[in-house]
Structure formats: C-alpha cells, structure tokens
C-alpha cells in the first residue's frame, strides 16, 4: 500500500475548519453557510472514495512510465525537493489546462462551485479526475526517472499545502512569502468571478509559475471578491455539483453541428460555435471596455 500523506492530514483539516468556524462567528459571519459546508465536505469525502478506487491504476501507469525510460533517479535525498518543485510545475500545467480546456474543466469545476471561500471549500475535490485523464500531467516526471512513490507523495504534500490557502482569515503573509509562495491572497484571486481575476493564479505551492508565465494577478483590496463560477449553479446537491458540467458537455456535443462537436470538448469553457456564450477572455474584454467608457 502506497504512502499517502493526505490521509494523515485529514484530522488536522477538520480541526482547522472548526477553528475557522469559531473565527468566522466573531469576525466574518458570511464566510460560512452550513449547507454549503455540508456540500463541500460530502464532495470531499466522495473524492477520497474516487481517489481510492483509482489509485492503483494511477500508480500502475506511473510504474509503467518509469520502467519505460532508461532514466532512474532513485531515492536520493536531493531528488525529493527537486521532485516537489517539478511536480508543482506539473500541477501548474494541469491546473491551467483545467481552466482552459473544457474536458478538464468538467472535472475541476466542482472545486470552484462554492460561492463561499473557506477551508471547507478546499475539500471540494474532483470525483472524475481519473476519468478526465488528469494523471497524464504527472507522467513526464516518471519518464524523467523519478520514483512513482515519490511523485505521488510529493503530489500529496502539494495538496496538503493548498488546504490552508482557502481562507479569508489571513489577509497577507510577509512580503517575501507572498513573492514566492501561493498564499490565501493569491488564491482568493483564483477563486474569484470578478472579470479582472478570471483565469489567474493557477499555482499550487509556488506562485512563481504564474509570474513566469504571465498569469499572475495581485489581489486589490478595493475590489470586493465574489466567489464561485461564472454560471453559478445555485444548488447544494453534491451530485449536481460534481456532474453538471459533464452533462452540459454531453448536451452541447449532441446538439452541435458535426464539425463543431469536438470543439465543445477541447475549447475553453464558455466557447460556443455560434458565439452565444462568453469565455473568460470575452468577459474580461467586456469589463475592460466598460471600465474605459466610464473613464472617458
């Protein structure tokens, strides 16, 4: 049985959620809503089941990729930090694709479906990541010679790191930390539906990837963040939250003319063959145009 650090972190997650609830009661009563929290936790529990059912298959694929390459790094101590950093780069690639390719978005959207932003939101993890083939983003690490067990452990630590940044209770970390690491401030931007923040800050642990690849946006305290997704679901039903985008894709593919069917799988969320919907780029352009008009 492989080592999964997330299993050991779950009691800490629960304790921190309780602590944040107590903080929110005094300082920010709108940070939590009990039905929203129930949905988040139910989806979190379902994701551990889905992850458990597919873990062996993911491990088998990493083992296959590792055995198919002449490269073998082994368990040297220095391989751990290197693997963690490269796994974080792989996560950035996955996460950017999860927002820019509708097939991957269908699996990731449930994580963004809450209109609240608190530690329970962090647990709205995917049930359909394996079906969407999200594991392919980690295969290059195995081909590069990293041990499959090391890759999965680093992925687990990365997931644990991302838990604490889902909070409004921390305004800013020290400047040097904000410059390098993903923080609550950076990740609030990522969960925002404000036009200026759409498709920004894809980082997992290190925010440097967004700064390097031009997808970084700093949080502006003057602009109140609204959380969720562009088409808010308006439901607390975990099954609807988890599967609604897959059903929407199926509907779109069924109804679209033949030459456009595949585009509903690989184009960005919001794309439509008749231009009747808006992508995040179109929303940003509309918002920029309105802001320019106001200045004039």
């Amino acid at each position: 049985m492989q080592f999964n650090p997330v299993t050991f972190a779950i009691p800490v997650f629960v304790a921190l959620i309780v602590a944040e609830l107590l903080w929110a009661r005094r300082r920010q009563p709108r940070a939590y809503e009990s039905r929203d929290t129930a949905t988040s936790l139910a989806i979190g529990l379902g994701s551990t089941v889905a992850g458990g059912l597919t873990a062996a298959a993911v491990l088998a694929m990493l083992v296959w990729a590792h055995s198919a390459t002449p490269l073998s790094i082994g368990w040297a101590w220095w391989a751990w930090p290197l693997c963690f950093v490269l796994d974080d780069l792989a996560y950035y690639t996955f996460h950017r694709s999860a927002h820019r390719v509708r097939w991957f978005w269908a699996s990731h959207v449930n994580h963004h479906s809450s209109q609240h932003y608190n530690l329970s939101t962090a647990l709205r993890q995917s049930w359909t990541g394996f079906f969407a083939a999200s594991f392919i983003f980690r295969l290059p690490l195995a081909f590069a010679g990293f041990e499959p067990g090391m890759i999965l452990a680093c992925g687990g630590f990365n997931l644990i790191y991302q838990f604490w940044i889902h909070t409004e209770s921390i305004k800013r970390m020290p400047h040097w930390f904000e410059a390098v690491m993903n923080t609550p401030s950076h990740h609030r931007v990522h969960h925002a539906v404000n036009a200026r923040y759409l498709d920004r800050n894809y980082a997992g642990t290190f925010i440097i990837w967004d700064k390097l690849f031009g997808t970084f946006a700093a949080e502006d305290d003057a602009d109140q963040i609204r959380y969720g997704i562009v088409h808010q679901i308006g439901s607390f039903n975990p099954l609807k939250v988890v599967f609604h985008e897959w059903l929407a894709i199926a509907r779109d593919v069924w109804r679209a003319p033949w030459r456009h069917k595949l585009s509903y799988l690989w184009r960005e969320p919001g794309w439509s063959h008749d231009g009747s919907r808006e992508t995040s780029d179109m929303i940003r352009r509309r918002w920029n145009a309105a802001a320019t008009d106001q200045k004039d």
Partner: protein
C-alpha cells in the same frame, strides 16, 4: 487484504462522523441563516455578475432583502435568487410570467427547471408585472 478493507471502512466511517459533527457545529454557531441584500449598490454589483453581463437601470429590492428584480437598458429583466447565504443572478427567459398578488411578485420560468420565485416588493409589486 481484508484488514486493509476494514481499515478503509473505519476511515470512511470516522470521516462521516467528523463531517456530521462539523455541519452540526456550523448550524449551532448560526451559519444556517439566509443571506440578505442590504443595499441597492450591492444588488447592482450582484446583477452585474449575471452571465453575459447585466447593467441595471432600474431595480427593486425584496423588503426582507431575500432577493431583487432589475431591468437593464434593453428591457431585459433579471432576478437575484437566494442560495444559502449568497445570491445567484439570473436573467429572465423571454417566456417568464410575472404576476402580482398584493405586495408579492411571483415569477415563473425565471430559469429552466427553477421553482417559482416570490419577492415581497410592497407597493412596487404591481409595477413589475407590466414589464414581462
């Protein structure tokens, strides 16, 4: 193998119990209250988030802050629907029916699959029925 299954079942049961405890605590601490739209400024900001954009030119808040209705310059109508502690902005479909009963405005067909919505608009309720 059987031992591993037992361990996983135990972990699942423990997680389920922890979830139930957290939800109960959230309810006990008062996090089951619905949201309220307090001001027109807030309502306008929420309407602006409707898919496709929505620039409010006229709006009316529910008297208890449990929603709002608005019109844009093109004559489209949109509503703010309560969703837990938050609101969801929906532009009304062309076939939506708006009827008034005293100070209440009922909206049917606000979005596909949605239940009818009722807003308490006071004397303004009658005025919004004519704009469907």
């Amino acid at each position: 193998m059987a031992q591993a299954m037992d361990s996983q079942m135990l972990q699942f049961a423990g997680s389920l119990a922890a979830i139930a405890a957290v939800i109960a605590l959230a309810h006990f601490l008062g996090f089951s209250r619905g949201g309220r739209v307090a001001t027109e400024t807030e309502a306008r900001a929420l309407f602006a988030l409707a898919p496709g954009g929505f620039e409010t030119v006229e709006l009316c808040l529910d008297e208890e802050g449990r929603g709002a209705i608005a019109r844009d310059s093109a004559g489209r109508l949109a509503v703010l629907l309560p969703h837990g502690g938050q609101f969801v902005a929906r532009v009304l479909e062309p076939g939506a029916r708006l009827t008034a009963d005293g100070d209440r405005l009922s909206i049917e067909g606000s979005a596909s699959g949605r239940k009818p919505v009722t807003l308490h608009l006071g004397n303004a309720a009658q005025g919004w029925t004519n704009q469907a």
